[in-house]
C-alpha cells in the first residue's frame, strides 16, 4: 500500500512537471500532436500505478521522452513553417467574402450543424452576418462578422480611449503582493492611503490600476471604490 502511495506521489510530480514542460500552450486548445502526447502520457502514467511489478523508471522514461520530443518538435515547427503545416495542419477558410464554401466543409467533414454550432459559440446566429470564417488547426472556428453587423468600436464612435492596464491585486486576504505594490508606487499612492488607513491584515481585498483607481474590501466585507 505504501509503495503505491509513494509511486503515486512520484508519478504525480512527474506528470505535473511534464505538463509544465509542455508550456502554457498545452493548457489552452490542443494541437493534434499535443493531444496525442496528452493521451499517451495519461495512459503511460497509470501503468506503474496499477502494477507494482512494473518499475517506475519504465513509466518515467517514455513520459519524459515523449514530452521532450514534443517540446523539440514544436521548437522545430516554429523555425520551419513547412514542418508546422505537416504536423499541425493549416487553417482552412470555410466562408470567404460572405460566401460559404461547401467543398471546404466536405473536406473537413464539417456538417452544416457543426458549423452553425461553432458560429453560435461565437455569438453569431445568422450565417449571413459572417464575412469570413476559418477552421483553425485546433478545430475551433474563428469568425469575422460583416462590418455592417459588427459592434462599433471606440474609434467608430469618436470616443477617446482609456489607455489603462487592468487593475492588479495589491492585497489578497491580508497578503501584500509585490507586483501590486509597484502599481501603487507608480500611481503615487501609499499602501496605507490605498487601504483607507487599515493595516494590510485587516484588508480582505485591494486592487489598483496605474491610473490610481482603487477597489477596497476590508476584512469585514464592506465593498468600497474610490479614486
Amino acid at each position: 500500500m505504501s509503495v503505491i502511495l509513494i509511486r503515486s506521489l512520484i508519478l504525480y510530480m512527474l506528470v505535473v512537471f511534464a505538463v509544465r514542460l509542455m508550456g502554457k500552450r498545452q493548457l489552452g486548445e490542443l494541437q493534434p500532436s499535443e493531444l496525442v502526447i496528452t493521451i499517451l502520457v495519461s495512459n503511460i502514467a497509470t501503468l506503474p500505478l496499477e502494477n507494482v511489478d512494473i518499475p517506475v523508471i519504465v513509466g518515467i522514461t517514455p513520459i519524459l521522452s515523449l514530452v521532450c520530443f514534443e517540446v523539440l518538435v514544436s521548437r522545430l515547427c516554429l523555425k520551419f513553417p513547412k514542418m508546422r503545416s505537416l504536423i499541425s495542419g493549416s487553417p482552412k477558410v470555410i466562408i470567404s467574402g460572405g460566401k460559404l464554401d461547401p467543398k471546404a466543409l466536405r473536406e473537413l467533414r464539417f456538417s452544416v450543424d457543426d458549423l452553425m454550432m461553432a458560429l453560435r459559440n461565437k455569438d453569431v446566429f445568422d450565417l449571413s452576418e459572417v464575412q469570413f470564417a476559418v477552421v483553425e488547426t485546433t478545430g475551433s472556428v474563428s469568425v469575422m462578422k460583416k462590418q455592417t453587423e459588427d459592434n462599433p468600436t471606440r474609434s467608430d464612435l469618436g470616443l477617446s480611449p482609456e489607455n489603462a492596464d487592468p487593475p492588479q491585486v495589491v492585497i489578497s486576504d491580508g497578503q501584500v503582493s509585490q507586483q501590486g505594490s509597484e502599481i501603487l508606487k507608480n500611481a503615487g499612492i501609499s499602501l496605507k492611503k490605498a487601504a483607507g488607513g487599515l493595516p494590510p491584515d485587516k484588508v480582505f481585498f485591494l486592487a489598483a490600476d496605474s491610473q490610481g483607481n482603487i477597489c477596497l474590501v476590508p476584512e469585514g466585507g464592506l465593498h468600497s471604490d474610490k479614486n
Binding site: 514542460l21 518499475p55 523508471i57 522514461t61 521522452s65 521532450c68 517540446v71 523539440l72
Partner: protein, 121 residues
C-alpha cells in the same frame, strides 16, 4: 528557449542512461552466462560437487544483478530466471535441463537490452 534546452538535456540524459543501463545489463548477463557455461562443463566432466559449488556462486551473482535489474526492467522478465536459480542453488546435483534453460533465458535477457530490429519491433 529554456524549455527547449531543458528538453534537450533530459533527452540526452535519457539516452546516456539507457546506453549505460543496456551495457551494464549486457555485461552482467554475459558474466552469469559464462558462469552457467562453467557449471555445464563441470557437469559434463562429472564433477558434480564442484558444479554445485559453482551453482551457489552463480545464484549469488544473479542475486546481486537482480537487485539492481529490478529497477530497470519488468519483474516478469526476471522471475523465471529467479525461480530456476533458487532451484539450482538448492539441488546437490544441478539439473542439466534447468542449466540450459537458464542459459537460454539469460541470453534472451541480454539480447533484449541491445537495440536490434527484433528487440525493437
Amino acid at each position: 528557449m529554456t524549455r527547449t534546452k531543458l528538453s534537450a538535456a533530459i533527452l540526452i540524459s535519457l539516452i546516456i542512461i539507457s546506453v549505460c543501463s543496456g551495457t551494464w545489463v549486457s555485461s552482467r548477463c554475459s558474466r552469469i552466462i559464462a558462469h552457467t557455461e562453467q557449471v555445464i562443463s563441470l557437469m559434463s566432466y562429472g564433477d558434480t560437487s564442484a558444479a554445485a559449488r559453482e551453482c551457489k556462486s552463480l545464484a549469488l551473482e544473479w542475486e546481486h544483478f537482480r537487485h539492481t535489474a529490478s529497477v530497470l526492467m519488468l519483474n516478469s522478465r526476471l522471475t523465471d530466471i529467479d525461480r530456476l536459480c533458487s532451484r539450482l542453488e538448492a539441488e546437490n546435483i544441478p539439473d542439466e535441463s534447468e542449466l540450459s534453460e537458464m542459459h537460454h533465458l539469460l541470453t534472451i535477457l541480454k539480447n533484449s537490452e541491445i537495440p536490434t530490429f527484433h528487440s525493437i519491433f
